[in-house]
């Protein structure tokens, strides 16, 4: 009996139990392909389990402890009534965008840009609707390259995911404005959310995608989100991923981008709030002459824990990757950066750059940085650098010697530190909005 009790209190058991209970609703019964996939995924999750304390990829992030908390696992999360006015808080001033609203992981058509307002051939809809309305397109991409065999969180998401958004850009399509996806969390009970998004950008199309997460709840949530991006030959994608949730919201946000020949992908992951946040950004070059730029900014305060894991898989020759991640850790917050670059044996002429810089403002804040370069080709150029330090005291003195208070001097210095990441944001209203947010944060 003792053994049975011990087993049932493992957090995994709750998910396995919930899966069986919800099998009918969660499995999207009509689609046999999905049913099989979900069965495989839950079996894989059961075999892998959550990462133990010795799991290298989770060394600095106590994920299993966070998951001990009893979150409600529901196939259809409750839907609060939200109005456009509620969501106005999530809007970026001056930004004219196609608008997608997800509430508690579910696509809300009434609050999103209608299909009729989209350019010909563009599909921007819910994941569920895409599975029914475009079964062939959906099946071609959904989870096709997702590495759920080795990652329990991807497997868990795949087993449970019911909704999210699905975006398809036909070849040679350039949207005239960005797509802004707002994920709004508002719950009354502690909830586990698992949205799943699929973005397909066909050859020579181009997209600016902004995803911002918000929460307005006293109840705790854990979001295990997955975004798949299929970037076709010669296509260009700029992806801005903003964590603006409050301190009751934890989550793992996994982005997997697959790049075909001559395509370009830029990812900006900016974490300004949240409780425990894990960003997984994975890029795989599948065709030559691809280019990927990964920018990250993470600002910890309170007891926030922000973990950034990036993985760039140079699976083919002649690709360029460039990473710049910067963090500022205040109070008793923790930051983690783990940047893996894999250059496979035949991926000659690879150029890979990685830089990670952090400022730790207090004695109780922590930063763990780990570059991880695995290079199996010989004709490559790879550099990496990591630096962690305090604010430049000489700089603070200089500013104070001109009359600025110590608070103002620190604020200007911190904003300056964040500047080279913010400056990479190509969408001007978004850059201005984030500039302001960061400046306010530091009192500049």
């Amino acid at each position: 009996m003792a053994t049975l009790t011990a087993t049932s209190t493992r957090p995994e058991a709750r998910f396995l139990h919930a899966f069986e209970l919800q099998a009918d609703t969660a499995l999207n019964g009509s689609n046999a392909h999905l049913t099989t996939l979900r069965r495989k995924a839950i079996a894989r999750f059961e075999a892998l389990g959550f990462p133990g304390r010795k799991a290298e990829a989770w060394k600095y992030t106590p994920i299993t402890r966070t998951l001990q908390h009893t979150y409600t696992i529901q196939p259809v999360p409750p839907l609060p009534k939200l109005s456009q006015a509620d969501l106005a808080q999530a809007a970026i001033p001056e930004l004219d965008a196609y608008w997608v609203v997800l509430v508690n992981g579910q696509f809300i058509p009434e609050l999103s840009t209608p299909a009729t307002a989209l350019p010909q051939g563009v599909i921007l809809t819910s994941l569920q609707h895409a599975a029914q309305a475009y079964p062939e397109l959906f099946t071609t991409y959904f989870a096709q390259k997702l590495d759920y065999e080795s990652d329990p969180f991807l497997a868990l998401n795949l087993a449970f995911a019911r909704d999210g958004f699905f975006l398809y850009l036909p070849p040679q399509t350039a949207l005239d404005r960005p797509v802004h996806v707002v994920h709004w969390i508002e719950v009354d009970e502690d909830l586990f959310l698992q949205p799943h998004h699929v973005v397909v950008v066909a050859q020579e199309a181009s997209l600016q995608l902004l995803y911002s997460g918000h929460s307005r709840s006293a109840a705790r949530t854990f979001t295990n989100a997955v975004t798949e991006l299929y970037i076709g030959r010669g296509a260009q994608v700029a992806h801005y991923d903003l964590r603006l949730e409050n301190n009751t919201a934890s989550g793992i946000y996994s982005t997997q981008a697959y790049l075909e020949q001559e395509s370009q992908y830029t990812n900006h992951t900016l974490t300004l709030d949240g409780a425990l946040v894990r960003n997984n950004v994975q890029v795989r070059f599948e065709g030559e002459a691809g280019e990927a730029h990964l920018y990250g900014l993470f600002l910890g305060r309170g007891t926030m824990h922000i973990d950034n894991h990036t993985m760039i898989d140079h699976a083919v020759p002649n690709c360029v990757s460039n990473e710049l991640y910067k963090g500022i850790l205040d109070d008793a917050s923790t930051g983690v950066f783990n940047g893996k670059v894999l250059v496979r044996p035949h991926a000659q002429k690879t150029n890979a750059y990685q830089s990670n810089k952090s400022i730790v403002l207090t004695e109780t804040a922590r930063m763990y940085a780990k570059p991880e370069l695995e290079i199996y080709a010989d004709d490559v150029r790879c550099t990496h650098g990591a630096a962690c330090g305090q604010l430049n005291e000489e700089g603070i003195f200089y500013l104070r010697a001109r009359g600025l208070t110590v608070q103002k001097a620190r604020a200007l210095m911190l904003l300056a530190f964040a500047r080279d990441v913010l400056d990479q944001i190509a969408v001007a209203p978004l850059r201005a909005y984030l500039d302001d947010l960061v400046a306010q944060r530091f009192g500049a």
């Binding site: 000489e394 200089y398 500013l399 104070r400 001109r402 600025l404 210095m413 904003l415 300056a416 080279d420």
Partner: protein, 254 residues
Amino acid sequence: MALLEIRNLHARIEDKEILKGVNLTVNAGEVHAIMGPNGSGKSTLASVLAGREDYEVTEGEVLYDGKNLLEMEADERAREGVFLAFQYPVELPGVNMATFLREALKAIREHRGLPPLEPAEFLRLLKEKAELVGLDPSLKQRSVNEGFSGGEKKRSEIFQLALLEPRLAILDETDSGLDIDALRTVADGVNKLRSHDRAFIVITHYQRLLNYIVPDYVHVMVDGRIVRSGDKNLALELEEKGYDWIREEIGLPA
């Protein structure tokens, strides 16, 4: 009342005593040059006056406009009208020059009970002051001191001086690293800023600068003390004879 009154000032960094009893009185409207060999404590004196916290004052007092200067934080001193032109201005990538100067001017004006300048007025002032020292006004779009040449950095210090209008300006080796043309421009700028209610302390290693900024008083600092004071002719004498004769006179090994 003197603008600045330094009495028996002793200061050390870590365990090393550097200032060993400095006395100096500076009145508004005066220009004082402080000369002396390397390591004599000139720059330390400038740093202590500006409020750099690496130094510990162990004895003595400094009165600025009758107030205890040493009790003020560095930024408070600046707002009160003390200005240090840095010997090595630090580069601050990402800190926009115009933003920095706007904040500085705002803080100082607020302290004087003045409202912030209108943006257009501020820009006009930046342009005017930049021209005073021969700086390209486009520097306002750059990061503070970043990528500035040695000469630009020094000019920028005097440019800031002109903008912030301090009552006591301390120039810490502003002449070092300047070619003769830049030196003349910087000195011209300083001369235009001389006024009856503003005092200058010009710290320099060489007499050359004093050909252009003619001081009312020249002081010689050796081994943490001011050992001799005179008029501008003292600087010429030092130029000719070096510092060793003073060391000998006061009984220090040459």
